[in-house]
């Protein structure tokens, strides 16, 4: 391997890694606030890219049907929930939040189906279509289990992954898509070529990481999220509703996921089930950060991107094996560096 190749692989790895950074941050955000290890998160990334691809081709994105299905189910769940608890006056608000709001972008996409929208409108529309998916899933399948153990939530989350990949095939079909390039300029630094796409990916990851940091440090909502993450009971006592912060966490994370999808769409051909592997790789990055640290996750995610890039150079067929096997030394390092973990949440029989 020449230094030039190493440099190219390195740049490539950092570009891929910046996608994992965004996805990893989303995963940590959801986990720390809701205790849900949201395995289907990678699917949000893939769905976002596929949605944009459909819009660019002037087709009706499958997301419209997916969101509509989920919204209908969520509305039923919300209605039954409030009805059984004897608070029918709260049904209306629930239906607006889980029915009308997510269906708004879907209705727009449906209305303009076939008509080719201008470029500037396609990306926000794709993001708006995809963002409600995770909060809807949370409301349907995870919120009723909010009191369950982390492990039970994880098991449900893995089951949801399979449901979502099934729905993905149903609504997006088996073909793979690549979206149109966002930018096409190319920069030369000596013998090294850097595409503006790469720069865009890295810059977006940095900007959104910073925005997330500012949000946590300087807004009341951000502080409420951090409070919930540190201590749910304590947060409740000071008037923070864990269900509200949970929804906010899912929304914000979905936004990060959707943006990742827009960024990765032009460089990789994505299929309905490509998200799973993307999500898991981001997970490996997040585990390097202990599933709690945002900077640790970002570093871990970039490392995974680099590792993947170099691994595919040495042996592309063993690329996945290498990336997932690296988790084993990571876990070893974690288990040696951590004190015996005190599993107080296991004190309750689950």
């Amino acid at each position: 391997m020449t230094p030039d190749i190493a440099l190219i692989l390195g740049i490539d790895g950092i570009a891929t890694g910046s996608i994992y950074v965004l996805v990893g941050l989303g995963l940590v955000l959801i986990f720390s606030v809701t205790r849900v290890v949201f395995v289907p998160f990678g699917d949000i990334v893939a769905f976002s890219a596929l949605t944009l691809a459909s819009l660019q081709l002037g087709r009706m994105p499958g997301t419209v049907y997916l969101v509509a299905t989920l919204a209908v189910v969520a509305c039923i769940v919300v209605t039954v929930h409030h009805w059984r608890r004897g608070e029918p006056h709260r049904i209306g608000r629930g239906l607006i939040g889980y029915g009308i709001l997510p269906l708004l972008p879907a209705a727009i996409a449906w209305f303009f189906a076939g008509a080719s929208l201008p470029n500037w409108a396609q990306i926000p529309l794709a993001i708006a279509l995809v963002v409600p998916i995770a909060p809807l899933i949370e409301r349907i399948a995870l919120r009723p289990l909010a009191d369950a153990s982390v492990l039970l939530l994880l098991i449900v989350s893995v089951a949801l992954t399979f449901a979502l990949s099934g729905l993905g095939l149903l609504f997006f079909g088996p073909e793979g898509f690549r979206t149109k390039p966002l930018t096409t300029e190319v920069f030369r630094f000596g013998s090294v070529i850097v595409t503006s796409q790469t720069i865009l990916m890295v810059a977006t990851a940095i900007v959104f990481s910073l925005l997330l940091f500012l949000f946590f440090e300087h807004t009341l909502a951000g502080k409420a999220l951090r409070a919930t993450a540190v201590n749910r009971v304590g947060a409740r006592i000071v008037g923070i509703r864990p269900s509200n912060t949970g929804t906010l966490a899912f929304l914000l994370a979905s936004l990060l996921g959707a943006i990742s999808g827009i960024l990765i769409g032009p460089v990789t051909t994505l299929y309905y089930d490509s998200g799973f592997i993307i999500g898991l790789k981001a997970f490996v990055g997040a585990i390097i950060g202990g599933l709690i640290s945002y900077p640790g996750t970002a570093i871990g995610a970039v490392l995974i991107g680099l590792l993947e890039s170099f691994a595919s150079f040495w042996s592309s067929s063993f690329k996945e094996v290498t990336v997932f096997s690296v988790l084993i030394p990571v876990l070893l390092w974690r288990s040696l560096s951590l004190e015996q973990t005190d599993e107080e949440d296991a004190e309750v029989e689950g």
């Binding site: 290890v37 395995v39 399948a141 009723p144 289990l145 369950a148 982390v150 492990l151 039970l152 994880l154 098991i155 449900v156 893995v158 089951a159 949801l160 399979f162 449901a163 990949s165 099934g166 729905l167 095939l169 149903l170 898991l280 997970f283 490996v284 585990i287 599933l291 067929s317 063993f318 996945e320 094996v321 997932f324 096997s325 988790l327 084993i328 876990l331 070893l332 974690r334 288990s335 951590l338 015996q340 973990t341 005190d342 599993e343 107080e344 949440d345 296991a346 004190e347 309750v348 029989e349 689950g350």
Partner: protein
Amino acid sequence: MIARTGVIIVIVAVAILLAAPFWAAEFTITLLNYIGIYALVALGVVLLTGVGGLTSFGQAAFVGIGAYATAWLTTAEGASPWLGLFFALALTGIVAAFLGAITLRLGGHFLPLGTIAWGLSIYFLFGNLESLGRNNGITGVPPIAIGPVSLAPNDAIYYLIWGVLAVATILIANLLDSREGRAVRSLRGGVVMVESLGISVFRIRLVIFVIAALLAGLSGWLYAHMSRYVSPAPFDLRMGIQYLFMAILGGSGHILGAVVGAALITLLQNGLQDLLPHFAENGQQLEVIVFAIIYVLALQFARGGVMPFMLRYLPKPARHAPAIAEPLPRRAMPQAGIPLLTVQDLLKRFGGLEAVSRVGFEVKAGEIVGLIGPNGAGKSTVFNLVTGALKSDEGTIVFLGQDITRAGQRRIARAGIARTFQHVKLRPSMTLIDNVLLGTYVRTRSGFLASALRLDRAEEARAGAEALAQLKRVGLGEQAYDQAGNLPLGRQRVLEVARALAADPALIILDEPAAGLSRPEKLALADLLRGLRKEGVTVLLVEHDVEFVMGLVDRIVVMDFGSKLVEGLPAVVRADPRVQEAYLGSVA
């Protein structure tokens, strides 16, 4: 009457299964074979997840290792399937021991996430290794033969599969009803209590992890020689979660739940494969969605699985009173009056707070020493430092001449210190006697293999007699077979005392043993502790009931704000103005 109906149901079920090849169609036998093979894996998941509380999504990968190991050895090297069995089990066991050693120390969600990662890793490995036929797999795997009898026909291997399953089920059932089995059952619900009984949580977890993997490997071996062909597809993550759900849907706390769950899911899958193509062309994908919905609904509404419903119609396990046996041998108690426990300059910081600052005291063999002080004085922290549940920042703790300052809970337990907890730590779903039997762990030897093969019965009988004796001693002998969770809180404290006594300690450390007891119960407890003193057992206790303490103990150590205030005879301590100030506030 109900018990008899249950026995009849079981006999009929076994007879129907035995005769299956004579009444069932070829396809039914194939289904039954798959159910048996899946149930073997699910049995491991029941042990690992349902009983031991460790979640693994990666069992399918172990099935794959077993299947590929034997397929490769029997095709590439032409070896006998029996050699393949040995190779499959050895390889699965080694891989599981390695992965377990790395991940089982980690708490909570890291283990299941780790299992997802290596499950995928191993799956991709199968699909990319040239010698394993990449995605095409390995064909022409020979059938198993027992002597001249070939097990190639479906209804021949049927007996092998269900025979293996039956033997495995009995062995696991034996195991769970034993010394190590109780340790496995105690894993769910916090590790501090388990370690304080001298049980190595890591070792128990590792062993059940390897057992579950070996069952998966065994299932893989059967699968490879039944279908005569292996490819990566049946060992992917989707199968991994399917095994987990077989155990959960069946009822993950029950051994038979594995068979019930495997049957349910296999039949459901088969039914869906017939039904779904009528609704959509993508039947396969609809199946995935339907399964996912069933899983989510089951976890929301029936976390216990179907076994609890079925158990109502099955015979209740007979409550055999423990056989008459000698109690376990007792230790020689240290000579009265020699220094038993010496604590010097003990210091513990939590962040910037010194919870215990330079505390020192001595307990002599045969004494009852009371540690008292207002709330937050650091008494329980001292107990946790002495018993190894916390590590001190400075100072030394010497017990019977050994420095135990840095020792872990287990070593301290084996050295002869038993304890109770301020917040009662029992296993509410286990019986009283099983809870007390956990205390005898340090005094007994039988391992996993001996327990599975029922070679532990003599020792078990002695341990059982010991546990029952201790229960009677604390006044709970009548309720020995009730669930511990049904006791009122005060009685649960007394049960903890019985568990500590079952360990035959030289020093017993009691954290507020009288809290929640009625006056007669307190008097009985005081009598019990005096009786212990007569036997040479030393007692160190924290208690808030000053009357209880004053009438019982030989000496008192008073703590306030993390420091030792006074030490001395009860009457002297009671008269000390500093103690009065600490409790009641200054007069001035």
